[in-house]
């Protein structure tokens, strides 16, 4: 018997906004001018905050962090497509998206300066933004559970989980994709393919022609989008979230972008990649093309840009000031939160800890 094709698949790529700011008008998502301007503003804010943190890190005023410069469009546009009740669980390179979801900038600074306080949601906040996940890929499995729970409770909610190209090699990624698909859970898996996982280039991470096609193996719709095109990311995520909420299960989206900076401030990318490569991607970065788009739409000009630049600088500076003014942190807070129940072993150690601190204080006085 001759062999026959029993299944075949296609992987589509979505790109709406090109580098000149021109669009495929049929595909432009239906966003009001103020939302478009807001989208641009979030990206600008993320860029400014990122660059400011980099400077502070170099001056010893900020701990190690993973810059997101060049990847703003992915998480900002995705977060803007989310509904109020949707969950966001990401990795550590979604500064813009976190800000959109209600993270105060001062929290970001606290977090990267070594204080759990940076993870606390503002009082009264109902946003479903989970803390940074450093264990690569771990959020993918949790997303399946968050989605299952939302379905179980009959909530009109979906889950957006964001992770990198490197994460797709971890078992957790595959288990999460499979669980979400088997449960038909309302989850959008958004992979920021920034071409690198520290020093491992995308081609050495997986032999798959696209990352998007990994969705096919798990039986879910998948698409590749230009990750530096905020309109394409928005459209793809918006559609996937709508599908998820209406009971049609998970989607996998590969957003093709580029890590323009070092992996973290502790990394030296000159050891493994050329500056020319990064330079090429600077020409494709997401902010400039979005500005050109706004200009072509008659929504933007130099005066508006100058005004917004000032405003954002002031906003970041105010957050820096607020963060640097904060100088007292409860020393024994770690003892408060080991468990939700009281135990002598913890309280005994807390007493010992506090006595020791007092002694040190007295010795210094």
């Amino acid at each position: 018997m001759p062999m026959e094709t029993i299944a075949s698949f296609e992987v589509a790529r979505l790109n709406i906004l090109d580098e000149n700011g021109d669009t495929d008008i049929d595909l432009v998502p239906d966003l009001k001018p103020d939302r478009l301007v807001a989208m641009y503003r979030w990206m600008l804010l993320a860029r400014e905050a990122d660059q400011r943190m980099l400077k502070m890190q170099r001056q010893g005023r900020m701990g190690t962090f993973a810059p997101s410069t060049g990847q703003e469009a992915v998480s900002v546009a995705a977060a803007m497509a989310m509904g109020e009740k949707d969950w966001f669980t990401g990795a550590f390179r979604e500064l813009g998206g976190r800000l959109v979801r209600g993270e105060p900038l001062v929290n970001v600074f606290l977090y990267y300066n070594g204080y759990e306080e940076g993870n606390l949601r503002p009082q009264g906040s109902a946003d479903r933004l989970l803390p940074v996940n450093i264990i690569v890929g771990s959020q993918c499995v949790q997303a399946a559970g968050l989605g299952y729970a939302a379905g179980f409770r009959g909530e009109d909610a979906a889950v957006l989980t964001v992770f990198g190209d490197g994460a797709t090699s971890e078992g957790d990624f595959h288990e999460g994709m499979n669980l979400a698909a088997v449960w038909n859970a309302p989850v959008v898996f958004l992979c920021q393919n920034n071409q690198w996982a520290i020093s491992i280039r995308r081609e050495k991470q997986t032999r798959s022609q696209t990352l998007a096609q990994k969705g096919i193996a798990y039986g879910m719709p998948c698409v590749q989008v230009d990750g530096n095109d905020a309109l394409a990311v928005y459209r793809a995520v918006d559609e996937a979230l709508a599908r998820a909420r209406s009971g049609d299960g998970p989607t996998f989206i590969e957003a093709v972008t580029y890590r323009l900076m070092m992996h973290t401030t502790a990394d030296d990318p000159t050891r493994y990649r050329t500056e020319e490569e990064a330079k090429e991607w600077w020409d494709r970065e997401p902010l400039v093309r979005f500005r050109r788009f706004l200009e072509k739409q008659g929504l933007w000009d130099k005066a508006k840009q100058d005004e917004m630049d000032q405003e954002i600088k002031a906003e970041v500076a105010a957050a820096v000031e607020e963060f640097e003014a904060r100088d007292s942190f409860k020393a024994d807070a770690p003892f408060d939160h080991v468990f939700g129940t009281d135990h002598a072993v913890i309280q005994d150690q807390r007493r010992e800890f506090l006595a020791r601190l007092e002694e040190v204080d007295n010795a210094q006085a």
């Binding site: 550590f92 070594g114 204080y115 940074v132 090699s169 971890e170 078992g171 996982a197 020093s199 770690p334």
Partner: protein, 326 residues
């Protein structure tokens, strides 16, 4: 003799074993082109090529699982976990197979592999980059756990770990990576796994420690000796499991007093085990209860607070004095 820091010394140790035995293979995330995020494997890719130095995809369970296969097939894989906290993803392969195959097959199938991993705090790193969880691995029968404290013993212990017939978890105190240099002879040195070392002789009290805690311990003991005219013995465990209880007990039998130091949380730790061994073997020689200097049973705080949570020479000194005064 060249003076090397611990990063350079471990690098030299691996290099020497690779030169001697072409079955020694290095694998892990970013170990090749990047030379490892701490540069411990720097230069090995250039020297030995990409068949022997493998930049793997991001998959801890995969790295160790593959290494188990390589080891069964006769290679000597030396794996890197980028930070010890990401190594938990490999526990199913380590506990479920690497540590058991010898027993499972009565010695017919063995797994001589090394898993290197930086551990410990004090470097102002992000979450999951500062923990000390040696007890987790020490508690897995069939797994050897080795922790060097300085460049010279790091070089001889990594050599021993690579030649060892069993799986060895090799935990590197990252705080000590570049903290100081020591003379490390060019010629190969191979330590004996399972042996603690008396690094300072004394008669009045024994301090037992390992890894990054050795420096605060040596500072504290020198201070107390000087201040009180006593002489304190110091033991560096070097191998956590299987532990060298004999060296500890022989010392405590002479000194009658003991302080045990670990950076890790207090409960269920290495210090508890040292005390249990003393209890079993030399309890009647004790003139004071054995004291523990440890971290606390809390989730490792982010670096903003970590300095209050990691034992210092001051903590050790205080415990020594209280034990002397008991």
């Amino acid at each position: 003799m060249p003076r090397l820091n611990m990063v350079q010394a471990i690098n030299l140790g691996i290099d020497q074993q690779m030169a001697k035995d072409d079955g020694v293979i290095v694998l892990g995330e970013d170990v090749g082109l990047d030379g490892g995020v701490f540069r411990v494997t720097d230069g090995l890719l250039e020297k030995y090529g990409s068949d022997r130095v493998l930049d793997t995809p991001l998959a801890e369970s995969g790295i160790i699982g593959a290494a188990v296969g390589m080891a069964i097939a006769g290679l000597r894989p030396v794996c890197e976990m980028q930070f010890s906290c990401f190594s938990y993803l490999m526990i199913p392969q380590l506990e479920g197979h690497a540590a058991r195959l010898r027993s499972r097959t009565h010695g017919q199938v063995t797994v001589p592999l090394v898993v290197r991993m930086p551990y410990g705090g004090g470097v102002r790193a992000m979450e999951h980059h500062s923990e000390s969880r040696e007890a987790t691995y020490a508690h897995l029968p069939g797994t050897k756990v080795v922790i060097p404290s300085g460049p010279r013993n790091a070089r001889s212990l990594i050599a021993a770990a690579i030649r060892d017939p069993d799986p060895v978890v090799f935990m590197e105190p990252k705080h000590s990576y570049r903290a100081f240099k020591e003379e490390v002879p060019d010629e190969e040195e191979v330590a004996e796994i399972g042996r603690a070392e008396v690094v300072r002789e004394g008669t009045d009290l024994t301090v037992v420690g390992f890894g990054a805690m050795m420096r605060p311990i040596l500072k504290a003991t020198a201070e107390v000796d000087e201040a009180r005219g006593v002489s304190i013995e110091v033991i560096d465990l070097l191998t956590i499991a299987p532990m060298d209880g004999e060296t500890v007990c022989e010392s405590v039998r002479r000194t009658g007093r003991c302080v045990v130091v670990q950076e890790a949380p207090r409960s269920f730790g290495v210090a508890s085990e040292v005390i249990a061994v003393i209890n079993d073997k030399v309890l009647m020689y004790l003139e004071a209860p054995v004291r523990r200097v440890t971290g606390y049973d809390v989730v490792t705080p982010y670096f903003g607070r970590e300095k209050d949570y990691i034992p210092t020479a001051g903590w050790v000194r205080r415990a020594i004095e209280e034990t002397l005064d008991f």
